[in-house]
């Protein structure tokens, strides 16, 4: 405690932190407001939902008031007042009213952000906000008086007591008889008398006349009274303020002057024990536990600082890889080095995982926008959809979450616009009139899988095929398996919409979704049953920053094959390779045959496939479970690599997902196994066609 500052004074740097935290908390309250209103709009009739939005508005107001953000106080107070009506009447706002609330939420958000940025809101902005809230009060049928009430300062400012300037001291007579309730609420007459004594010279007479015989004594009852003469320069209200907390729990008479009937002062007023019992004392507290409770369980960190930390850790991983590169080859020379390096690797990995864990967030932030989106699409399409959301608490890296909104939005649009049939069609198909859309998230094998499933008509493969032929994606006589036809919808430029509707967006199709999912290091797959519905599955990495991969060499280039896609490495020779047709080779692995592909040729590093008689291959699997063996020149070992984006003028490099920087400073490309197999499959289909013709 500093001498210059009053007790309880909070230093400015601490205050700055609290202010910062307040705005962060505001963002959470704003999100709560929005999701709460959306739930109400979706027909949620839980009074707790109304309570929670009320609390959110209330908390913004309370914090703003403490920090002196008056504009914010005013607006959030209006917001709260309009909500109070529903809270007390236990009714639910109508759709129209909810729209107004949602709009007002946006305005509140603007106001919060403007306040945070230290910006003065223009009159225009404030007026717009006020009009909105005036409308809000009107539509809710709320008595406008609480709103009008805020035109005057809503909160009592720190009182300036002019009475301090009145110097004349005068005597007051105070009769004070506590009731039992006073003690029951843990008030204490002695404390009040002590407070009163702060105002001036005081004589106290205890009146014990009400104390009954011991046999009649009720420990819970109150029997004592005091008669007090106080000499003070303060006013009657200052005197009464001492008894503010107890004025309903006692008989209190305050009058100017000395009472003529005052009981003569007792020579030695006995100390009066507080009748309310206070068992136990502070020493019983468990100090360790108290300390634990005092520890804040969360710490808020600026995202920028966290990102900087993550970048540094990424660089640390690279440095660690470099160190491993330069490690003495002969371990006997310095056996401790290898051990130390292993320890360092483990530590680096632990640090990395911990840091990545900090960035994890529930997918809720993306999912909570979906109900509103669905409603909008319903309106535009005239279809009705029941939306089910599962696993919204699934944690994903923040960067993945940020990139998820667009593809997910697109998929939901597609599902309702193209997937779910019209009311008439559904009736004809004997399906419930309301379509169903299920969106779920779950952790699966080190990745996050997000599914968007509708119960619509499923993919019309004949139609897809016809369009693919028309758009030259496949040749008219190509033999394409059923599920491969489904995958054609991800081809660039493909669109199933006969007419470009407002919703599915001007010819932009699933290829864009696939590209943005791939940009996240993710994969998309589709499964569909005619008449029963379509499910899109997004498989996403938990983090965008690092990847476990196998470093291989192809045509003199270093390539990283993600371990997630790698099943095993296989030696091949004439014993287990079978030529099929002019170009294709099959590799026998435990009784089954998978295509053996010259990776160098597939990537275009050499003009045509030249599989050597023997060599080494990586058996990989794509999202759909299809396997292929990729022949490479050499396997250099397993590596954890830091993913660097490889985007050249928004142009994706065929077959490459991203890049990384190796310990030797050179760039290595990270293979996109799905893309490689997709490009290969068209070729295979053509080979098969050739074979069929031969």
């Amino acid at each position: 405690m500093s001498a210059e500052h009053p007790e309880g004074w909070i230093p400015p740097d601490v205050m700055a932190g609290i202010t910062q935290q307040f705005f962060e908390e505001c963002e959470e309250h704003l999100a709560l407001l929005e999701s709460g209103f959306l739930r109400l709009e979706a027909g949620d009739h839980d009074p707790e939902t109304v309570n929670s939005v009320f609390r959110a508005a209330h908390s913004i107001k309370g914090g703003a008031a403490m920090l002196g953000a008056t504009a914010l106080v005013g607006f959030s107070h209006r917001f709260e007042s309009a909500l109070a009506h529903f809270r007390t009447s236990k009714t639910f706002p109508s759709h129209d009213v909810l729209k107004v609330f949602l709009k007002a939420t946006d305005q509140l958000a603007d106001l919060v952000r403007a306040t945070r940025a230290g910006k003065e809101l223009t009159d225009e902005q404030l007026n717009a906000a006020s009009r909105e809230l005036a409308g809000l009060a009107d539509t809710t049928g709320t008595d406008t008086s609480p709103v009008a009430h805020t035109e005057e300062p809503a909160f009592s400012p720190v009182r300036v007591e002019f009475e301090d300037f009145a110097p004349a001291e005068q005597p007051w007579t105070i009769d004070f008889r506590p009731h039992a309730e006073l003690y029951a609420k843990a008030n204490d007459p002695i404390v009040l008398l002590r407070e009163l004594k702060r105002l001036g010279e005081m004589d106290t007479v205890l009146d014990t006349s009400a104390i009954p015989l011991l046999s009649d004594l009720n420990l819970e009852d109150a029997y004592l009274a005091w008669s007090i003469t106080l000499h003070t320069a303060r006013t009657e209200s200052a005197v009464r303020e001492v008894f503010e907390f107890v004025e309903r729990d006692c008989d209190l008479h305050v009058r100017a002057g000395i009472a003529e009937t005052a009981i003569p002062p007792a020579a030695d007023p006995r100390p009066v024990p507080a009748p309310a019992l206070r068992p136990g004392d502070a020493s019983q507290d468990a100090p360790a536990l108290r300390a634990a409770l005092q520890q804040p369980s969360t710490l808020r960190v600026d995202l920028e600082r966290l990102d900087r930390l993550i970048n540094l850790v990424s660089e640390l991983v690279i440095s660690e890889a470099a160190l491993a590169e330069y490690a003495p080859k002969d371990s006997a020379q310095n056996p401790n080095f290898g051990e130390a390096l292993d320890d360092l690797s483990q530590l680096t990995r632990d640090i990395q995982e911990s840091v990545m864990g900090i960035r994890a967030q529930p997918v809720k932030s993306v999912f909570q926008r979906l109900p509103r989106l669905v409603r909008e699409i319903e309106k535009a399409t005239g279809k009705t959809v029941r939306l089910t959301i599962e696993g919204e608490d699934t944690q994903v890296d923040r960067s993945v979450i940020e990139g998820l909104t667009d593809p997910l939005t697109h998929m939901v649009r597609n599902a309702i616009d193209h997937g779910i049939e019209t009311y008439e069609q559904r009736q004809k198909a004997n399906k419930p009139a309301q379509g169903s859309l299920r969106i779920s998230a779950a952790h699966r094998a080190g990745r996050v899988v997000i599914e968007v499933a509708d119960d619509g008509g499923g993919i019309d493969r004949d139609c897809v095929r016809a369009i693919a032929v028309k758009q030259n994606l496949i040749s008219a006589d190509a033999i394409v398996a059923g599920e491969d036809i489904d995958n054609l919808i991800f081809e660039p430029g493909f669109t199933t919409a006969d007419k470009v509707t407002d919703l599915s967006g001007r010819g932009v199709g699933m290829d864009v979704v696939r590209r943005s999912v791939q940009a996240l290091g993710g994969r998309i797959s589709v499964s569909s049953r005619r008449g029963a519905g379509t499910t899109f599955a997004l498989s996403l990495p938990l983090t965008l920053a690092v990847l476990d991969g196998m470093l291989v060499s192809v045509c003199g280039q270093s390539l990283v094959v993600p371990l997630a896609a790698l099943l095993e490495t296989v030696q091949f020779s004439c014993d287990n390779v079978h030529k099929v047709g002019p170009n294709a080779s099959l590799l026998a692995i435990r009784g089954s045959h998978v295509p053996l592909i010259d990776l160098g040729a597939t990537l275009g590093y050499k003009p045509q496939s030249q599989l050597s008689a023997d060599g080494i291959a990586l058996l990989v699997e794509d999202d759909a479970g299809r396997r292929v063996a990729l022949a490479v020149d050499d396997i250099l070992g397993q590596k954890q690599v830091v993913i660097k984006s490889l985007e050249i003028n928004c142009h994706r490099i065929a077959g490459i997902a991203a890049a990384t920087i190796l310990g030797n400073g050179l760039v290595a490309l990270i293979l996109d196994v799905n893309a490689v197999m997709a490009s290969q499959k068209i070729g295979l289909a053509q080979d098969e066609r050739l074979m069929a013709h031969a």
Binding site: E315, L646, G655
Partner: protein, 159 residues
């Protein structure tokens, strides 16, 4: 984008701008110095699969993956310097970095609007899409590289 913005600004205010001039074969080209991040020596690149040949590959620029465009290949002018002696001009294009591989950096020239002229119609010439203006200073004719166009047709060439 920066280049375009800078161009607009120049048109409006008649301000003079500085251009970094470099050499590809015997010809001179330039970019706005505001778009230049740095100039560095050649480092080995990692080839990218199935891209136009002028996209030479990617290299490590202090932890960032930097794509390198071989300007000689792009403009179809033969370079006359050994690969390891060539220079990479690192430029900003729409908040992303790109390296331009050139024979040598010459100097910086200052030019105003009067020195600037749109490239005459050379449709069919490989140069016409990526060099859209000419700067004439002290008898030199310097092609201004349109940075926003330098990668523009990678997609069509690839398809």
């Amino acid at each position: 984008m920066r280049d375009a913005a800078a161009r607009n600004q120049a048109q409006e205010t008649q301000e003079r701008r500085d251009f970094l001039v470099f050499r590809v074969g015997a010809q001179e080209f330039c970019v706005d110095v505001l778009a230049v991040k740095e100039v560095r020596g050649w480092t080995p690149t990692t080839s990218l699969p199935k891209v136009p040949s002028f996209l030479r590959g990617v290299t490590n620029l202090r932890g960032t993956v930097l794509p390198i465009v071989d300007l000689g290949d792009r403009l179809q002018i033969a370079c006359d310097t050994a690969i390891e002696d060539r220079i990479v001009v690192v430029v900003w294009i729409d908040r992303k970095l790109l390296g331009l591989l050139v024979d040598a950096v010459c100097d910086i020239v200052t030019a105003g609007d009067k020195n600037l002229q749109a490239m005459p119609d050379l449709t069919g010439e490989p140069i016409h899409t990526s060099v859209t203006s000419l700067i004439t200073v002290d008898g030199r004719v310097i092609g201004l590289v349109a940075l926003d166009q330098i990668l523009a047709d990678t997609r069509s060439q690839n398809a």
